[in-house]
Amino acid sequence: MTLLLALAACARPECSKPEYDRAECRVQAESALARLVTSAGVDVRFQEPGTEDLEGWSAKGLILHGEDGALVARVNTLGEFLITLDGEPGETVELVVDNVHPDAPPLEGEVSSEGLRRVLAVTLGTEPSRIEGSLPDGACEASYRLVAGGDIQTNPLQFRRIVQDLHLEVERADEAGEPLLGFLMLGDISEYSLAAEFEQILEILQQSPVPAVVIPGNHDVYDSQDAVFNRHFGPGNLAFDVCDSRFVLLDTGSGNIAPSVHGRLPELIGEGGGQLLAGFHHPLYPGQRGAGWTAEDQSELVLAELAANDVDLVLSGHLHMRLEPPWSPVPEVIVGTLGANQGVGAPDYGVLRVSLDGGGGQATDWCFVPSPAPGLEASPRSEADPVICPELR
């Protein structure tokens, strides 16, 4: 009994010691990094879109001082977002909002824009200033598209080619009347969790024609002392709406999701109504490929929760290939094809195109958009599932 009392006395708050190789501590890091108070006392926060309760904040992005000292808010969701600024009334704050769709309407106080970046000059009032972002006008009138993929690791140059090819994908989407709204990146964007690797990927993403939402993989989170992924990309546990669809993308970099995120799963999944898409780095059901979650018991519980909410599509990476696991009990696509090593044989690089019905219907369709490595004319796996998009065969 004495020993038990002694142990209880040794208890400390969760993550009071840095252990960022644990999923739970990254939850705390992403929460902390979604708010910043400047030296002048300006309080900048990401909030739940549409909320009137501004007491707290929400991990929807990353707020930091950029290299030139500018205040930067990197949005890590698609669709609507809300940033609040609070400080001395009458003070003007310069804020760069990054990772916003180029066709989205101008933001409050916007003075210029280039690519995915908006530069704002916000004059503070007596109430917190609200910067509300949204999708491009008309994006939800008909169908729209997203692209998805994971696993860059040691091959950022191939990833650069894939990002450049996204400009062609935007043209194809526009021709089809289905705007391309974003890029879902499913982890393993680095090999060694190094800041320099993440900076290189951020630099490449500046060339992207659409915003990229990024979650971590096992290669991105094994520095226990530094939440290096979150410091560069923001939250790895995300839930957001695009038109009528709900997206739930979670951090499985440590082979599990944080228990607290598991506890918030119904809240993250939301009320439903439209399509539900989930994304992880580790496949929810890897079949016999030896690449599942370490916490396989937890992955089954998450699978049950998603299935109970009629999930329309589960996306993941980790396996450096494209695959629709044949025994999967839910619609599932593995697409770890952003450049990482694929072993012997010619590699099969590219992204998954996902088409969704913006009008509240249930149509979800997907196909593969190859970005062949230099020296290859086409994908070496022409017959694999998911199939190559018809106009690209």
Partner: protein, 369 residues
């Protein structure tokens, strides 16, 4: 470089470490050493083939389970044989059949609870294990394996977001059962030979786990996970006190949950391959035998290629590929002229989701299984 390191490890494990105990019976000593040498080489080959499979396919892992399985089993085979060789240098390699110990016919197992995180709780676990053996004939034994387990309370995890008050985010209670009967056949004994060196084993491993989850928003979910995994196993008695066993088989999973009064069921599916490798070293008396009691023990080093209960070995970025390594020591205490003994066991499941457990059971002074 990775290939060279892998080849170096395999060669190191395959090398003969030296002669065995010189005072033991020469023929048996030589045969025991040969057995271990063969197992070491087989284990090294498993590591090499599994590792090369990985390196060749990268993280593409075309049917990656067998690669991890081979490497894990190879590690137990080669590592066990190296440790076993050292043990035989210190002790006589032989041990009479009736002095080897086996899993207790009935035992209770407890795992400690406790959490070092403020506001969280991790309850202790309790299990009842049944494993009586029935001799169906010469060289044919049936072990009636069954296991019941439950958390003795709810696991509580807090919400660590800095803008919250660290309230409970998830409360979880788990319980379940295993049915694990095992048929053991010794072909040498069946055909009229003496003690068999090889034993064929068949086990249909059925498991079910129940999970009761209370979420942050006040909602709850009841989930039931089931699996069946028919496995084929082989035990090789390498010497009087040492044995290696390996099992492998497919696994089918199905998961269901409560939806109001209804129960929804996902389609059954083929899961990951299940495999297990064990290396057993039996020991004699500790030298401390109060009141004429006799004692004997067994050290078991095993790799379980299965993460059904959420345990697995992760290293750096190698996450989710391997099941747990398990180190187990059982010790039996027998009073003079009594048919029953007390058997205690200490189990350490290494890796993520692992832990330690203590087992206490009753063992009869029976014959070898």
């Amino acid at each position: 470089m990775r290939v060279l390191l892998l080849a170096g490890l395999a060669v190191a494990l395959a090398v003969e470490p030296g002669p065995s105990a010189p005072e033991a019976e020469p023929d048996r000593v030589v045969q025991d050493a040969r057995n271990r040498k063969a197992l070491r080489r087989a284990g090294a080959a498993g590591i090499l083939v599994g590792g090369l499979w990985w390196l060749a396919w990268g993280d593409t892992l075309h049917v990656g389970d067998p690669a991890s399985l081979l490497a894990g089993m190879g590690l137990v085979a080669a590592g066990g044989a190296v440790v076993g060789g050292s043990v035989d240098l210190l002790a006589d390699g032989g041990l009479p059949l009736d002095q080897r110990i086996h899993s207790a016919p009935v035992s209770l197992r407890a795992g400690p609870g406790g959490s070092s995180i403020l506001g969280e709780s991790a309850p202790p676990g309790l299990g009842l294990n049944l494993g009586p053996g029935l001799r169906l004939g010469e060289g044919v034994v049936l072990i009636l394996g069954a296991d019941l387990r439950s958390d003795l309370g709810r696991t509580v995890d807090v919400d660590p977001r800095v803008q919250t008050s660290f309230d409970s985010a998830l409360s979880h209670l788990a319980w379940g059962w295993d049915l694990n009967p095992e048929l053991r056949l010794e072909p040498g004994v069946v055909s009229g030979g003496g003690e068999g060196n090889w034993q064929l084993r068949l086990r249909p491993w059925m498991r079910q786990r129940h999970h009761s989850l209370d979420y942050l928003d006040g909602s709850s979910r009841q989930v039931r996970r089931s699996s069946v995994s028919p496995q084929l196993g082989l035990q090789w008695r390498l010497s009087g006190r040492q044995a290696f066993a390996a099992y492998v088989g497919p696994r089918w999973d199905w998961t269901s949950w409560d939806e109001g009064p209804e129960r929804e069921l996902l389609p059954p599916r083929l899961g990951p391959i299940v495999g297990e490798a064990r290396y057993d070293i039996h020991t004699e008396s500790l030298g401390w035998t109060p009141g004429g009691w006799s004692t004997r023990g067994r050290l078991r080093f095993s790799y379980l290629h299965d993460s059904f209960d959420g345990a697995g070995m992760d290293w750096g970025a190698a996450i989710g590929f391997f099941g747990p390594l398990v180190l187990r020591y059982d010790h039996m205490f027998v009073a003079p002229n009594r048919p029953l003994g007390v058997q205690t066991g200490l189990v350490w499941t290494m890796g993520q989701g692992g832990g330690v457990g203590l087992q206490v059971g009753l063992q009869h002074m029976g014959r070898s299984r």
